[in-house]
């Protein structure tokens, strides 16, 4: 490990590649993470309905009704994504960047997830899923836009699943409005998810909805080869065959795009929350 990183207690819990592109500690503020929204023309009504309400992120100090505030993993505030209290509701937050070299990139974060503590019961399967995705496009003379998605399916209906998934296909593109200049496609639907060849991973839930344990996640992508290389969550390391990703022809105004998004989806008519203590993106550039 790079000794400069090891000497900094905030960074020594990460394993960054040679250059840190961004390091977002949410004690410092919202740091470029905004609500995801669909494309529209003339009216918000022209948006694909799935994109109409993806909820604004917020800064949370993890205050619980029974024990007060826990704060974040390191400090007071974490980025919080909160779905609506409606089965299948998604909250999605995105950070939009561009890259300057098609090398390897690596995302690391510390996260936790919980249902809203609105009932005095275990609530283990109330969060359906959370995930992270990249939305990428080649730079000069682009051939492809491509989108690695990694999802932890916690539960589906009443069944616990506790497995990681990837996605190889998006939905059909739709024309938005009447100018012919705007299109949209929804890529976070429930279809086309495939299990990663990795074992069941039961993440510590810790018995009641007001206790959070922080987890580590690392995701690796190769921009040059357009490969979704693998990931690590706590002590589960996946370094097998490259994972499937969505791939579509390059689009007119997205060159060098390097977007990162997180989302959480509820499994019941109850809010689901994803908290991020900190997010670090590093790379070979």
């Amino acid at each position: 490990m790079n000794l400069a990183y090891a000497a900094d207690p905030r960074l020594s819990r990460f394993d960054p590649l040679e250059r840190i592109f961004f390091y977002d500690d949410f004690d410092e503020g919202i740091r470029g993470w905004s609500e995801l929204i669909g494309n529209y023309e003339h009216s918000l009504d022209s948006m694909l309905p799935e994109y109409s309400d993806m909820r604004p992120p917020m800064l949370s100090n993890l205050t619980m009704w029974d024990t007060g505030a826990a704060g974040s993993m390191e400090g007071t505030y974490a980025l919080k994504l909160a779905s609506r209290a409606r089965t299948g509701s998604l909250a999605t937050s995105i950070k939009r960047q561009t890259f300057r070299k098609r090398g390897q990139i690596q995302l690391e974060c510390y996260f936790t997830f919980k249902p809203e503590a609105s009932e005095l019961r275990l609530s283990l399967n109330d969060v359906r899923a959370f995930g992270v995705l990249f939305d990428l496009q080649d730079g000069m003379n682009p051939e492809y836009r491509w989108m690695p998605h990694l999802r932890y399916l916690n539960a589906q209906d009443s069944e616990m699943v506790n497995r990681w998934q990837m996605k190889g296909e998006t939905r059909a593109f739709h024309n938005i409005g009447d100018s012919g200049e705007t299109v949209s496609h929804f890529h976070l639907g429930s279809e086309n998810w495939e299990f990663v060849d990795a074992p069941v991973q039961t993440l510590a839930y810790n018995e009641i909805a007001t206790k959070m344990n922080w987890h580590y996640l690392r995701v690796n992508v190769d921009l040059a080869e357009r490969r979704f290389l693998g990931f690590q969550c706590n002590d589960l390391v996946y370094a097998g065959e490259p994972l499937k990703h969505i791939s579509i022809p390059a689009m007119p105004n997205l060159n060098c795009m390097l977007n990162t998004a997180f989302w959480v989806e509820t499994n019941r008519d109850k809010r689901a929350f994803l908290y991020l203590d900190s997010v670090l993106l590093s790379g070979e550039f």
Binding site: L44, S52, L59, S60, W65, A117
Partner: protein, 119 residues
């Protein structure tokens, strides 16, 4: 000089309110002041018997836990014209904020609600 941090969350966008309504809980413990802006993307108001044109009334609510809510004491009338904006300032609100309220009979409003927060 350290600049004060600020953030605006769009807590409702293109949402139709009829009857009772409430915005989603929003955590803002870091902020010391807030303004709720409500812009009418579309509105169908009504005229009361004594001639006043109204649509609805919103109250600011606060919460210790995001689950149990209580009126903060501030309330305001919602817009009665398309693209008109109503607002309400709030200070000293603790950890959570939301709007709750009711529309008058036979009225509706499609809103964009922005919550402007400042350290």
């Amino acid at each position: 000089m350290a600049l004060r941090r600020s953030y605006t969350a769009v807590v409702e966008r293109n949402a139709l309110w009829q009857g009772d309504f409430a915005t989603e809980p929003y955590e803002a413990a870091w902020a010391s002041e807030a303004i709720f802006f409500v812009r009418a993307l579309d509105v169908t108001p009504t005229t009361l018997p004594y001639g006043t044109v109204v649509s609805g009334v919103a109250q600011v609510q606060i919460s210790a836990d995001g689950i149990h809510w209580v009126n903060e004491g501030s309330s305001f009338n919602l817009p009665i014209e398309q693209n008109a904006v109503a607002f309400c300032r709030v200070k000293h609100f603790g950890g959570w904020l939301r709007l709750r309220g009711a529309m008058y009979e036979d009225t509706s409003i499609t809103v964009l609600v922005s919550l402007a927060l400042k350290e």
